[in-house]
Symmetry: C2
Subunit: 143 residues, 2 copies
DNA sequence: GTAGACCTTGACCCTGGCGTCAAGGCCAGA
DNA sequence: TCTGGCCTTGACGCCAGGGTCAAGGTCTAC
């Protein structure tokens, strides 16, 4: 099959396939007129790549899986190199989740504190004229 | 103070400060010879920006905080626009963490399954000669 | 007066993963 | 024969957040 058909069947674009070829990730045979030619195995390789990318794997990280499949294994993750990528990815994900969770806590704390500070400001604003703090977009004092 | 000193005190670079100025995020006054001139307030604005960036805020997201500070408020998060950014960021973080956690589970499951499959392959390889499955980098059968 | 440290603007480079043109070749149907 | 649809390579753009020159101006110290 040609590049357009493969792209469509894999739910991607011809540009993407040419890009993968430029990386040596998914090389293509050529027909007499120079057109790229792919078969069902290439489709499987491509699906492996796209699946991993959906998981957030970088293209380079998909290479061991692709080569594993290409060397005749039934699954891309049948080879030790692929398992190693899985493990690295897990560690990466854990670290990322931990970092984001820590930030989430800090931002949440900041929000609560800032909201409390604003509530006090508003109370002071509606209360008998205290010191007129600099106001940003405080809702105008009630009627 | 001039740009070099401000950069050093804030732990960043002159290039970064010029970049922020080009975005209108941290404009600078100029001295007679065209040099940028900053004061302590600018340092506070810059610190606010850097702190938020460390939290993963994009530069545009820091703008409400900076403008809040510049309008005379004691803290960058004293204004409603800043609180809104906090809330959006929290939602974003929650979504991101949830997505990563789901992926983490799927990758973990894949790893376990692939490891089990490999263990079975190895068992078959060390057992009495079965069908010689295509081997990738299987450890050579023990002595 | 000159070396050296600072400053100026402008411009190109980098990362990843493509999108989007441009200019032209190949092939099938009417 | 012409139109339209596929294909080819090459090259630039984009996103953020700057890094890194280059070529030149300014100021201070010796």
């Amino acid at each position: 099959m040609r590049i357009g058909e493969l792209a469509e069947r894999a739910g991607t674009t011809t540009r993407t396939l040419r890009y993968y070829e430029s990386l040596g990730l998914l090389p293509a045979r050529r027909t007499g007129n120079g057109y790229r030619s792919y078969d069902e195995d290439d489709l499987r390789l491509l699906q492996q790549i796209r699946t991993l990318r959906d998981f957030g794997f970088e293209l380079e990280e998909t290479r061991p899986f692709v080569e594993c499949l290409r060397s005749g294994h039934p699954a891309g993750d049948s080879c030790p190199a692929s398992l190693e990528v899985y493990r690295r990815k897990l560690a990466e994900l854990d670290e990322c989740i931990a970092r984001l969770s820590a930030i989430r806590e800090r931002v949440g704390t900041q929000l609560v504190q800032a909201e409390r500070a604003r509530a006090e400001l508003e109370a002071a604003a509606t209360a008998p004229e205290g010191a007129p703090e600099p106001r940003c977009e405080l809702t105008p004092p009630g009627p």
